[in-house]
């Protein structure tokens, strides 16, 4: 296997092993060095505003957090494990009901103990991200 396909396989395995990611039907769409794209479908049980059918911000947080962790694990320094230390999310606009949400995370800097991540979440509309996030993740067992 090439490095890229090994990374993709590892990322898919990472997501499928996490019960909450399975519960939200998250799938890995793309991975590269220090980058991960993960998406999940709209679902009625994720709705935060029953009048409009807009998904709850918390569900978007879960997707952003997962994509961030996956981006860290896909980094060429190959940490064995990571956990979220802090995550700040800015909500730009409501995600369109019944549309898939896709989060793209980039681990843009890594030290021996901390990984820094930026992420953006999109629905299926053209107009900009629904949310952006910045996070710091712990790094265990890097090279």
């Amino acid at each position: 296997m090439t490095d890229a396909s090994k990374r993709a396989a590892a990322a898919r395995q990472f997501i499928s092993a996490l019960p909450h990611c399975r519960a939200l039907n998250m799938v890995v769409d793309e991975v590269a060095a220090g980058m991960a794209v993960i998406s999940m479908p709209w679902a009625p049980e994720l709705v935060g505003d029953p009048v409009t059918g807009v998904i709850h911000g918390g569900a978007v947080s879960a997707l952003m957090d997962t994509s961030g962790g996956a981006a860290v694990l896909c980094h060429p320094d190959a940490p064995a494990m990571t956990a979220t230390m802090d995550l700040r999310i800015d909500y730009m606009r409501a995600a369109k009901p019944h549309q898939r949400i896709t989060a793209r995370a980039v681990c843009h800097h890594m030290t021996r103990s901390v990984a820094f991540v930026r992420a953006e979440a999109f629905d299926e509309e053209d107009g900009g991200p629904v949310a952006v996030a910045n996070g710091a993740f712990t790094v265990v067992g890097g090279t």
């Binding site: 092993a17 996490l18 019960p19 909450h20 990611c21 399975r22 519960a23 009625p44 049980e45 994720l46 709705v47 935060g48 505003d49 029953p50 009048v51 998904i55 709850h56 911000g57 918390g58 569900a59 947080s61 879960a62 997707l63 952003m64 957090d65 997962t66 962790g69 956990a83 979220t84 230390m85 802090d86 995550l87 700040r88 999310i89 800015d90 909500y91 409501a94």
Partner: protein, 169 residues
């Protein structure tokens, strides 16, 4: 002097209003979050379930679940403080809250939310309480803390800004 209301009347009104606020939101039900009420003080309770696990090796609650629990607690607590005066002065009928989704007060919208993960969430129930630090006409700032076994050992805390729902259209 007016006689104080019978305790059951007061309890029923407040509990009905709280139920109307919480039970209408599918995501709160999905995560298994309920609220304990002591007077006007609310404590969010995240009831443990296997589907809330992120890391199955430790095992630990998913960071996204922790964030969602904090955000839900912040929004419900903020809405509750907005609702309280109308409820206690009789301007708001708690029965209408449960009966008609359209009649429910609109919830505040999250502008930003910043979570500190202090230790990993253990596979058991978690609790959270929010403090509304500022509540203006348009914006509010809310701090929320979550713990499991010991109230003094928080496993996560967060601060968020919220856009207030428009009052009376």
């Amino acid at each position: 002097m007016k006689a104080p209301e019978p305790i059951q009347v007061v309890k029923q009104r407040r509990d009905a209003a709280l139920a109307g606020l919480v039970e209408g939101v599918p995501y709160i039900q999905y995560l298994g979050i309920t609220f304990d009420r002591r007077g006007d003080e609310l404590t969010g309770v995240l009831h443990y379930d296997d589907k809330l696990i992120g890391n199955p090796v430790l095992p630990a609650l998913h960071g996204g679940v922790t964030a969602a629990f904090l955000e839900v607690t912040a929004i419900v607590s903020l809405s509750w403080t907005l609702l309280w005066d109308d409820l206690e002065t009789g301007r708001l009928d708690p029965e209408a809250l449960t009966a008609d989704a359209e009649a429910r007060p609109r919830l505040p919208k999250t502008i930003d939310f910043s979570v500190d993960y202090l230790r990993s969430g253990l596979p058991r129930d978690a609790y959270a309480r929010a403090r509304v630090n500022r509540s203006g006409r348009r914006y509010a700032s809310v701090h929320v803390e979550a713990w499991q076994d010991n109230r003094d050992k928080l496993f996560a805390q967060a601060t968020g800004h919220f856009l207030m729902p428009r009052r009376d259209g």
